[in-house]
Symmetry: C2
Subunit: 237 residues, 2 copies
């Protein structure tokens, strides 16, 4: 089974083609360029390099959020369009789980995070299972970092917590101050999402028949956009 | 400090540009194409995408073996040429350590391996240190897999051993049979070397002033080539 996987949900753009046994090709860019312009080029480059025609794909995998509204929309819309055009199933996965997969095999708690402004983060608590997948232990959420650190500490006790993500530098001082040596910060090669990890997670879902029709896939923003919130507030008046 | 990192030592081709804080861009291809033809294209593509001019690089990092003679030579020759032309230091790192870096944070023994034909493997024993680097515990070597499994088991006792590498499928049955549940096989997203991991290891060396002049870098084949062995045997007669 051959899968195209994409992630544009945050600053990083990542595209991979893989099957059950290996990653055929993977391109990751951390240039914060306009994903709406660069994503199709990236997909086309990776497919060409892998000598895979779009018609040879058996499924599409995408990071469905949380993250930047625009970034999530670009990824999900592209995945839906391709899945619809090629008549193949699609799977949407958590952008946080994708990052957590980089700590596959870590024995403590895994805490991916993205900055969500005003002291807030998109985050969740994950656990590595058998160096093959990561399972969610505390659900993805948007929350004040300071509150989150208390909650996650209560959940794991004295266990070590591995923090990951390209936005870590914004919050690292607070995390360090609050948790001390309990907080672990890995090499930056583990910070960014890799599309291959999303592809691998999706392959497990496809195998269980959990892929959905293109029309059923929806983004998972974890919060309503500011414009939507204002519109909703206005309706209530 | 900006580093270009490359690995063509085995079937996989990987190119990355990174600095101390993040991976700027990374391209990995598992197509077993002719690295001598595709490497310069890959380097040029990654530099272009990252908007980095060759003159802006502060160092070159390369996987110096073990692996395919031709693959190692292509990578090392390219790294030396670029380092010489750009007048920047170069660091050569173990191709096995590069793969072991994918298990950063794993608490047991990490055993990367490449097939070396006739029941032999290129391998070594590594350990993750603080989710930042992996250190060598039993040196890289070429050895009969069956002998190696005995030696590595003696070294770690009952601890779990994580086996990794694109050639794992060739040897997995023997490993499983010999070590049973002590042998762990991760998701295939961890099998292939990532140039970014090589770049990250090299950055630590550069920071300690351990980068060398282009002329001092030599491949590390771990064994003489068949042609060389025959020639040497002939001289002795």
């Amino acid at each position: 089974m051959r899968v195209l996987a994409i992630d544009t949900s945050n600053l990083v753009l990542s595209v991979a083609v893989m099957d059950e046994t290996r990653v055929l090709g993977e391109w990751t860019s951390n240039q914060n360029k306009n994903h709406s312009i660069t994503l199709m080029d990236g997909i086309s480059m990776v497919l060409n390099q892998c000598k895979v025609e779009p018609e040879e794909l058996d499924g599409i995998a995408v990071a469905k959020g949380p993250g930047s509204y625009t970034g999530v929309r670009i990824g999900v819309a592209t995945a839906k369009s391709m899945a619809w055009a090629l008549q193949v199933p699609v799977v949407g996965l958590s952008s946080l789980q994708a990052v957590a997969m980089n700590a596959l095999g870590y024995s403590g708690g895994i805490v991916p995070l993205f900055d969500a402004r005003r002291g807030q983060v998109y985050t969740g608590l994950y656990r590595s299972e058998q160096v093959v997948t990561v399972k969610n232990e505390l659900p993805d959420r948007i929350m004040l970092l300071t509150d989150w650190l208390m909650e996650v500490k209560e959940a794991v006790g004295d266990e070590s917590l591995l923090f990951m993500g390209e936005d870590l530098h914004i919050h690292q001082a607070v995390i360090q101050e609050t948790l001390g040596n309990q907080a672990i910060f890995p090499a930056p090669t583990l910070y960014h999402p890799r599309a291959a990890q999303i592809g691998w997670l999706a392959l497990q879902e496809f195998k269980q028949g959990k892929g959905t029709d293109a029309h059923e896939l929806v983004p998972d923003y974890l919060q309503v956009a500011e414009a939507e919130a204002k519109w909703l507030a206005k309706q209530e008046k």
